[in-house]
């Protein structure tokens, strides 16, 4: 295949993504005036590009099964390090669009599938870190006092660790054998449940019917997911995480948590001096109501920006883990691992390493641009 044909084929393979992007962007731009802050983002070129890049990968991950041309784990004899555009023997009309890797697997399909791993772990880990950050940072900032002192100290303690040392200590088969990750998961994964319980509890405390209903739904759903993720004991078998992935997930959450804690704490300290907080206090609202329904919504601007940046940072972090051989799973197509595998033969075969490297860069770049767009939008308000 000629380079042009390869590009053409690849563009064609991404058709579901293009359709998805068009379906999101066209109405968004048409109705941007009625869409509030999201619509404003559409007026910002940087934000638009960022959102486009991020959505591209989100959609690619979603439609990955339609996009890939081969199974990402299939090894085809004769395709070891094959150049981009090589035809697959015994499969007429099928090609390795971006060539084969060192184990004769399709680089293109692996890159597309890799987006799933990255987008499954990075945003979720960031979200969990945020939940934990909320649950600890809000009271620390709002109440201050001894609670604040202890947790600030603990956060600084974790932050004083070089991240990589922390990972070397936490992501090892020995630690997995000791059961520490499961214990840590058991604690960390409680935060989201606690967050939603308090969120609902604080809002509907005056309305017992709704309270019981909503709390019930939250608890059933939460504990179901919790049992699957933390203990791999989901009775229905929908949610599961293998020990290695759990180990990495917990470590990533753990590393991000103190940073989020500090940000949330800082914002809470600033906002609690505002008049509307004093008003709520005189109304006799509960502390959790004030923290979750008054402070949090008013802190959302900087938090959303940081959230985008943090997903990018987590993506890089996952890649770093792959770089040091602490990655998700040996055959996993996640980008960090494939970059690390590919870099060994980089000077003769650049094609297995460059696509995941560019994919990772473009996603992180997209997240950064999106964050930038959001920040500019926030400054204009």
């Amino acid at each position: 295949m000629s380079p042009l044909e390869i590009v053409g084929q690849i563009v064609l393979r991404f058709l579901p993504v293009w359709i998805g992007l068009a379906a999101i962007f066209v109405p968004s731009i048409l109705f941007r005036r009625r869409l509030g802050p999201y619509g404003k983002l559409m007026e910002n070129r940087v934000g638009q590009i960022g959102l486009g890049l991020v959505l591209f990968w989100v959609l690619a991950a979603f439609f990955a099964d339609l996009i890939i041309t081969s199974n990402p784990l299939d090894q085809v004899s004769g395709m070891k390090n094959a150049l981009p555009g090589t035809a697959i023997p015994d499969r007429p009309g099928a090609f390795y669009l971006l060539g084969g890797d060192n184990l004769a697997r399709d680089v293109f399909s692996r890159m597309v599938m890799g987006s799933r791993t990255v987008l499954a772990i990075a945003p979720a880990a960031t979200l969990f870190a945020y939940m934990a950050g909320f649950m600890l940072g809000l009271p620390a900032g709002y109440f201050g006092g001894r609670f604040d002192t202890v947790f600030s100290f603990a956060a600084n303690l974790v932050l004083a660790f070089p991240v990589i040392l922390l990972f070397y200590l936490l992501v090892t088969p020995e630690i997995r054998a000791s059961g520490i990750p499961i214990l840590a998961a058991a604690i960390l994964f409680l935060f989201p449940i606690a967050f939603f319980v308090l969120l609902i509890g604080a809002r509907f405390s005056a309305d017992p019917h709704k309270l019981v209903l909503y709390l019930g739904i939250t608890l059933v759903l939460g504990l179901w997911v919790y049992s699957g993720l933390a203990f791999n004991a989901d009775p229905l078998g929908v949610f599961a995480m293998d020990p290695n992935r759990l180990n990495i997930f917990v470590s990533v959450v753990f590393v991000n948590m103190p940073v989020v804690f500090r940000i949330v704490r800082g914002l809470a300290m600033e906002i609690r001096t505002r008049d509307y907080i004093a008003a709520a206090q005189t109304r006799g609202e509960s502390s959790w109501y004030i923290m979750l329904w008054e402070i949090l919504p008013n802190a959302r601007g900087p938090l959303i920006v940081d959230f985008c940046l943090r997903i990018g940072y987590t993506t890089i972090l996952l890649g770093t883990l792959g770089f040091f051989g602490l990655g998700v799973s040996p055959e996993s197509p996640d980008w960090g691992t494939t970059i690390n595998d590919g870099r060994k033969l980089l000077s003769v075969y650049p094609h297995p390493a460059l696509p995941p490297a560019l994919a990772l860069m473009s996603l992180v770049l997209g997240l950064n641009l999106l964050a930038d767009g959001l920040r500019e939008q926030a400054l204009k308000d």
């Binding site: 940087v46 100290f153 600084n156 303690l157 932050l159 004083a160 660790f161 070089p162 991240v163 990589i164 040392l165 070397y168 200590l169 936490l170 090892t172 088969p173 020995e174 630690i175 054998a177 000791s178 990018g312 890089i316 890649g319 770093t320 770089f323 040091f324 960090g336 970059i339 690390n340 870099r343 980089l346 000077s347 003769v348 650049p350 390493a353 490297a357 990772l360 860069m361 992180v364 770049l365 997240l367 950064n368 641009l369 930038d372």
Partner: protein
């Protein structure tokens, strides 16, 4: 100020204490000890041999006792080896067993012995830290001025085409981790496959004599990733200053744009980046680990990886000590510097 310093130093000690204990506990998990025994004696050792070895070399005592020994508040263990020769934590072949001190821990100035490098930890840390110091120095020399210039140029006229271009550039550099850019640099600028071969893809020879050829790529790789963040902070700070009242006044006085920027805006715009640069140090540590592994430069980061890989307990502890001190010291300097640069701030 004195009280403030004292408080910070106290906090630093407490942090170091907690941290090293965590590291100690994690490295002393039973499977980690077994792993260490096997790397030290023979990888294909049987379980009984491992157990015997661990007992003989004092690893079977409670963790707290051993942490105490490392700290120097508990007497070091003693025993005898397979030939009946006395061995112990504080013994060393050069002095007679009777003359050896009872306590030998951090408090006595003894950082211990590295099982991987077979040398006293203190010597290793000193040597490796010095090498990393050079790397850091050059990274700072390249990164800080470039980042400041980019930031100032971008922030000078917010929203201009120059600003857009430079901003995208700095965002792109923060989105490119070292393991990506380093790999690309090596393959493009140092490999014979592309043929440019301007630089060397290995910095191993830089440990003995640094040259432009062998040190450029590691420095560039690190500097690039850190640059974007500082540049963006500088830009934000500069943009804010440029809209300030006194700059407008200066403009109205009829001073040229260049004079306004250099005379009035710069000093005020550089306060925020100073903090950021200082806080960059600890974060550079992670970068150091990646870059040193990638380029074969055997500095502190590389040592840390070796120590962690082989569960070299005492070396790892000292590495974390160093890391903590660097992190907290830079925080302290950044706080003090902030006060010094900004007369409106007061030490709380």
């Amino acid at each position: 100020m004195g009280w403030f310093l004292l408080k910070r130093v106290g906090l630093m000690l407490l942090t170091a204490f907690c941290l090293t204990f965590i590291v100690f506990a994690l490295t002393n998990l039973q499977p980690n000890l077994e792993k260490m025994a096997k790397t030290l004696v023979n990888t294909r050792m049987s379980d009984e041999e491992v157990a015997r070895w661990l007992t003989r070399y004092g690893y079977e005592q409670p963790v707290l006792v051993r942490y105490g020994e490392w700290l120097g508040v508990m007497p070091g263990w003693t025993g005898s080896d397979e030939n009946g020769k006395p061995i112990g934590r504080c013994l060393n072949p050069d002095i007679a067993p009777e003359d050896a001190p009872r306590f030998c821990g951090v408090l006595q100035g003894n950082l211990g012995y590295s099982t991987v490098f077979k040398a006293p930890v203190k010597a290793i840390i000193a040597e490796r830290l010095a090498l990393t110091g050079w790397l850091m120095l050059w990274v700072m020399i390249v990164m800080v001025p470039t980042a400041l210039i980019i930031g100032v140029l971008a922030g000078m006229r917010e929203g201009s085409r120059l600003d857009r271009g430079l901003s995208i550039f700095s965002i792109a550099t923060t989105a490119t981790p070292e393991y990506v850019s380093g790999v690309v640099f090596i393959s493009v600028l140092a490999s014979s496959a592309v043929g440019l071969q301007w630089f060397k893809g290995s910095a191993a020879s830089a440990m003995e004599h640094m040259t432009f050829e062998n040190f450029t790529l590691p420095v560039l790789t690190m500097a690039l990733y850190g640059m974007g963040y500082i540049a963006r902070m500088t830009r934000a700070s500069m943009a804010e200053v440029m809209t300030a009242q006194f700059i407008r006044t200066a403009h109205l006085k009829g001073l040229s744009f260049g004079t306004v920027v250099v005379r009035h805006a710069l000093r005020n715009a550089l306060i925020a980046p100073f903090t950021v640069i200082m806080l960059q140090f600890p974060w550079l540590l992670t970068g150091v680990v990646i870059v040193e592994s990638l380029f074969g430069y055997k500095g502190f980061g590389w040592t840390l990886v070796r120590a962690a890989d082989n569960n070299d307990i005492e070396l790892l502890l000292s590495c974390s000590l160093v890391a903590v001190v660097i992190v907290l010291l830079t925080q302290l300097i950044s706080d003090i510097g902030y006060v010094y640069l900004n007369p409106r701030m007061r030490v709380a």
